[in-house]
């Protein structure tokens, strides 16, 4: 597909806008056009937060997502708010740590313990956004792995660079090691 529309949703403070920026930066490195729009409430923390990334080999005129191809939900509120709007073909990644989602009875829905993996395997749940990016990209193949690593390096402070690269890897492995358990049937 020439264009991918991605919604990264969760709570304010979970780093979704940064995740969107990293993903877009990586796509840009792959030679794609990108647009990252953010939508958030008046709060700096908590409240619903959403980053929208459009990746396309064409010019991106309308800058917001009209029909998501990929949806990430890192919070219950975000799941409740955004899941109902996606169609059956969309790939959905839900954080299994905190989000209670009913059995949804369709393909392309993945539940992975993203926040828990961040906390347990990287040492801080602050990097759950990057764990999610690693997982999301392993599932959806949005950008090249190399570009994604470069983008993480570029957009994170030197002090936290190694931690974030590790988070990316943790996300990827989460998909590779546990495909059948998490995929809904």
């Amino acid at each position: 597909m020439a264009t991918k529309q991605i919604q990264l949703t969760g709570a304010g403070g979970q780093g979704l806008v940064l995740a969107g920026i990293i993903l877009a930066e990586a796509a840009m490195r792959d030679g794609k056009n990108v647009a990252v729009a953010q939508s958030y409430g008046p709060e700096a923390r908590l409240g619903a937060s959403k980053a929208e990334v459009i990746i396309s080999s064409e010019k991106i005129a309308y800058p917001q997502v009209t029909q998501p191809d990929v949806l990430l939900c890192l919070s219950q509120d975000a799941f409740d708010k955004y899941f109902s709007a996606v169609n059956d073909r969309a790939l959905v990644l839900i954080d299994a740590t905190h989000v209670q989602a009913p059995t949804l009875g369709r393909n392309n829905i993945y539940r992975l313990p993203l926040v828990r993996a961040a906390a347990e395997q990287v040492g801080t749940k602050l990097v759950a956004n990057v764990v999610a990016l690693g997982a999301l990209n392993a599932l959806a193949g949005l950008v090249s792995w190399e570009s994604l690593q470069k983008a993480v390096e570029q957009r994170t402070p030197a002090k936290f660079r190694a931690q974030n690269l590790r988070a990316l890897e943790v996300g990827r492995r989460l998909v590779e090691n546990t495909p059948h358990q998490t995929k809904e049937v």
Binding site: A24, E25, M28, N33, A35, P42, A61, Y62, T66
Partner: protein, 375 residues
């Protein structure tokens, strides 16, 4: 050749300002424009410039006007509520012919409204917000790179004509990040105010040349109606001076008009749009053209002075004109006025803070064109 970068609209504005030679910024934090001040607070000192966070938006524009009379290219940036507070000083800048740039990243109003949602509700305020007849130039942009270019252009026009220039952005564009290649030094023209050849017998309020404080020009700058020397004037003299500054901009409406025209030659239906809404129009026009509809599109970058003649000539052979904008109907009134009842002009608005979608525009145009065919 510069590389592609992922740049936010607000950052493009700040970088455009520095590129244009802006060396003074004063502002007050407000969503969705604060990133402009944050960027300039970081970057202006590195180029010898000054960025100051003021106590409110009234102070912001006051300091900008003071700095401009000190010789600096100066800018402020805000959103609706702050823009409202600036109105009195916009009038001061207009009557004192002070070059300055005011960026308004529009958000849904009135009042506090929806601070994190986009709007195009300040179009009329940008033109008529301050009291009294006054000259003003209002520009807008739709793309991140265009934000950079129009910021540079805003400075150029402001300095060239000694007039406040307002750049209208909106929440979505202000926060949107896109891959762009920003202009290299020298790629865009950068214009500075003209200085008179001599100080003797110089009239500070007579033409577009300007002397600044500290040069020995014994300037008198006042917001009162004044003569060529800056001293209070009433009656006929006051009227003459006002006519002069009004004409300076209004008489140049067509040369100041920046726009992009698409498929207008054979258009039965014309869409007139500006700012972020133009991006939805671009997609809808592509779809409608693919469907075989003769749809044309006029994408305005200069909103004021309103390019009346341009609108007239672009809609001459059309049967239908649509003006989509994120408000309850503002620029559409000017379009109606220019068209003068010859053609059906419709407004497509949205007030919930979300963008008008390409589908909404395409559906409306499709319906109307079918209707008109049937008639």
């Amino acid at each position: 050749m510069r590389e592609q970068e992922l740049v936010q609209g607000n950052e493009a504005c700040a970088r455009g300002a520095i590129y244009a030679g802006c060396r003074f910024f004063a502002g007050y934090p407000i969503t969705p424009s604060s990133e402009i001040m944050e960027y300039l607070a970081r970057e202006l000192p590195k180029v010898g410039g000054i960025c100051l966070q003021m106590e409110d938006e009234i102070a912001s524009l006051s300091a900008v006007i003071g700095a401009s009379w000190g010789g600096a290219k100066a800018m402020t940036a805000t959103s609706g509520p702050g823009f409202s507070l600036m109105q009195e000083n916009i009038g001061y800048a207009a009557i004192t012919e002070t070059p300055c740039v005011i960026v308004d990243a529009q958000r849904a109003g009135p009042s506090t409204g929806q601070p994190t949602k986009a709007s195009q509700g300040d179009v009329m305020q940008a033109r008529w917000g301050t009291h009294g007849d006054h000259p003003i130039i209002v520009l807008t942009a739709s793309w991140v790179r265009e934000v950079f270019e129009m910021t540079v252009h805003a400075f150029n026009l402001s300095e060239r004509y000694r007039v406040p220039v307002i750049l209208l952005l909106d929440e979505v564009l202000a926060h949107l990040r896109e891959n762009v290649v920003l202009p290299e030094p020298g790629e865009l023209d950068v214009i500075s105010r003209r200085h008179p050849e001599r100080l003797e017998n110089f009239k500070p309020f007579f033409d577009e040349t300007m002397v600044t404080f500290g040069e020995g020009g014994r300037l008198m700058v006042t917001g009162m109606s004044h003569d060529e020397f800056g001293f209070p004037a009433q009656g006929k003299k006051a009227a003459e001076q006002l006519q002069r500054i009004l004409k300076k901009i209004e008489s140049r409406a067509e040369e100041l008009a920046i726009y992009r025209a698409h498929y207008l030659d054979d258009a039965d239906a014309v869409i007139v749009s500006y700012g972020i809404t133009s991006r939805a129009v671009e997609e809808s026009v592509r779809v409608l053209r693919a469907e075989g509809l003769a749809v044309g599109w006029l994408d305005l970058k200069t909103l004021w002075p309103f390019p009346e003649k341009l609108i007239r000539s672009c809609t001459e052979h059309a049967q239908y004109v649509l003006v989509p904008e994120l408000n309850a109907g503002q620029l559409v009134r000017e379009v109606e006025r220019a068209v003068g009842g010859r053609v059906l002009v419709e407004h497509l608005g949205r007030l919930d803070g979300y963008l008008i979608t390409p589908e909404e525009i395409a559906a409306r145009v499709y319906d109307r064109v079918e209707c008109l065919k049937g008639a």
